[in-house]
């Protein structure tokens, strides 16, 4: 046993690489399984009540906090950007700048981060506690798939509702930006909206909302995985929650980047028929 302490650095490093790869494999399997089961569950009426309950907890109760986030993002952008643009005499373009930032990036990403904290934490804590009190084993012992009963409804609820929450955040962000720009800084109302309308396409708003599906699935997937693999005790649950939040956050950023690249490609290829869209 005393050899343990003498393990070389290389050995330790190798050990952690192997554990890391194992975790990745396990996570991928869990997530793939969860997504397949969720798709199946989507067509089984028996799971609808479960999804409904989760939607209430995940979606409806998050509306206020998401609205507040959106509103402040819009207001802050207006305050920060006004001086820069006014210096160049371009303050009437403020609307484009605020609104495009809100609908394309800040609305979706900050909503997702809010949800990772609010919903992800709650999911991990709930499932983690169920795991350490053997309730998940109890589900299995009665011949039910815990992924189908516990994970699928949560993933589906999160996936279906995050886009709607992003719409709320976008809307409130636009209102927030408008209030500061037009009512506080006194930018011409018509010019503000005209420039905004000319600079933003339906495409920009859509990609923000489409991101929501991916963010929702990632948040619920990571949180459920962490809950299912939670270590025993109160400290275990706490640690799982922290890891779930950090994990979801990183996933959100990575997905955001990946989707930005993908959407850029799609947009370029659709450019010729753009007027039809």
């Amino acid at each position: 046993m005393s050899d343990n302490r003498k393990r070389s650095m290389l050995e330790q490093f190798g050990g952690s690489v192997i554990t890391g790869i194992n975790h990745c494999g396990e996570f991928s399997r869990f997530h793939a399984n969860a997504i397949i089961t969720s798709l199946q569950a989507f067509f089984i009426p028996k799971t609808y009540p479960l999804i409904w309950t989760q939607m209430l907890a995940i979606g409806v109760r998050s509306v206020p906090v998401v609205c507040i986030t959106g509103c402040f993002v819009g207001m802050v952008l207006a305050v920060q950007a006004y001086d820069q643009l006014a210096g160049l005499g371009l303050e009437e373009h403020l609307g484009v700048l605020i609104n495009i930032s809100v609908v394309k990036e800040l609305g979706p990403v900050l909503t997702a981060v809010m949800l990772a904290g609010r919903v992800g934490g709650a999911l991990t804590a709930e499932l983690g506690t169920m795991n350490v009190t053997e309730q998940i084993s109890a589900v299995r012992s009665m011949g039910t798939d815990p992924i189908r009963y516990l994970v699928s409804p949560r993933i589906l609820a999160c996936l279906l509702l995050t886009p709607f929450l992003i719409i709320y955040a976008d809307f409130m962000g636009i209102i927030g930006g408008y209030v500061i720009s037009v009512l506080h800084f006194g930018i011409n109302n018509k010019a503000y909206w005209d420039f905004s309308a000319s600079g933003i396409e339906m495409w920009d708003i859509s990609i923000g909302i489409i991101k929501g599906f991916f963010f929702g699935a990632a948040i619920a997937g990571v949180s459920c995985y962490k809950g299912f693999n939670c270590k025993e005790g109160a400290a275990g649950v706490g640690q799982a929650c922290t890891e779930a939040f950090v994990g979801s956050f990183i996933f959100i950023l990575v997905i955001d980047f990946a989707l930005a690249v993908v959407f850029k490609g799609i947009y370029a290829s659709l450019w010729p028929i753009r007027s039809l869209l």
């Binding site: 309730q135 084993s137 299995r140 012992s141 009665m142 011949g143 039910t144």
Partner: protein, 277 residues
């Protein structure tokens, strides 16, 4: 001689059997090459010190844990290498009472008990369902608690509700993990009578993990004792009572061994604290 007996396990004719089962968690070898066969309609009691692997053993019987080595058979079919999906069907033949109850704390007592029924049957007649729940709860002396949440029940009451849930599907085999721990002597005896009654009227096979020797003598057709990951005794209750092996006598009489007694007497607990000051 013990070895010979081990390898002669008849896996095809016994209801439930394990062959050469070993289980380790990391470096911790918990079960070491255990072979047992369980006959239909008999009650087997598993005894042994706390932490000797009794829970781990019975979890293998329904595939909640997978062996590190060896195999598990149900009705002659090997089940330890089945996929989780295939195990689900098999698990409906079993009832499992968890050591801590493992009631779903987001569901009421009523909902807990109908959970396994709902999962495996299409329910049309809700009045009949209420009747079933009432019968099961009456069996464990908990009728009238249908609307309670698990959080509002005492430890012993939770255990009894969990037992009602374990027998909800009227399984062929019931695995009890310490069914009488935490109950007063009269309630314990009610559970003993229940186990006996299920065996007599429905020919149910029971495997009971317990520390309660009084209960063990009352219900057991056969008693198995685990020690250091191995089966040290396997026989009828009378055989156990008169067994010559000191570990067995110490356990069934609830006596500490000479060696342990010495260590306790040697450590002068009060003085050490006094020395700190």
């Amino acid at each position: 001689m013990q070895k010979d007996k081990d390898t002669n396990i008849d896996t095809s004719n016994s209801l439930l059997a394990i062959k050469g089962l070993s289980k380790s968690f990391g470096d911790n070898l918990v079960l070491d090459n255990i072979s047992l066969a369980f006959e239909k309609g008999k009650t087997t009691v598993i005894i042994g010190q706390s932490g000797c692997g009794k829970t781990v053993l019975i979890k293998h019987l329904i595939g909640l844990l997978r062996p590190s080595d060896g195999s598990v058979y149900f009705k002659g079919e090997r089940i330890d290498d089945l996929s989780e999906h295939k195990l689900q069907k098999i698990r409906t033949n079993f009832g499992f009472l968890f050591q801590g109850g493992a009631l779903f704390d987001s569901l009421s007592v009523y909902e807990n008990i109908i959970f396994p029924i709902q999962q495996h049957h299409k329910i049309k007649n809700y009045e009949k369902l209420e009747e079933i729940v009432k019968t099961k709860l009456t069996m464990v002396g908990m009728d009238g608690y249908q609307g309670y949440n698990p959080a509002e029940l005492s430890g012993g009451q939770k255990k009894r509700v969990a037992l009602a849930r374990a027998i909800a599907l009227s399984p062929e085999i019931i695995l009890y993990d310490e069914p009488t721990t935490g109950l007063d002597p009269i309630r314990s005896d009610v559970i003993n009578e229940l186990i006996l009654k299920l065996q007599k009227t429905l020919n149910i096979t029971s495997i009971v993990v317990t520390h309660d020797m009084k209960s063990a003598y009352k219900i057991a057709d056969r008693i198995i004792m685990l020690h250091n990951g191995r089966v040290v005794v396997d026989g009828r209750p009378e055989e156990i009572k008169n067994h010559s092996y000191p570990v067995v006598q110490q356990f069934i009489n609830g006596q500490i061994s000479e060696k342990d007694l010495k260590t306790i007497q040697l450590s002068s607990i009060g003085e050490e604290v006094a020395k700190l000051q």
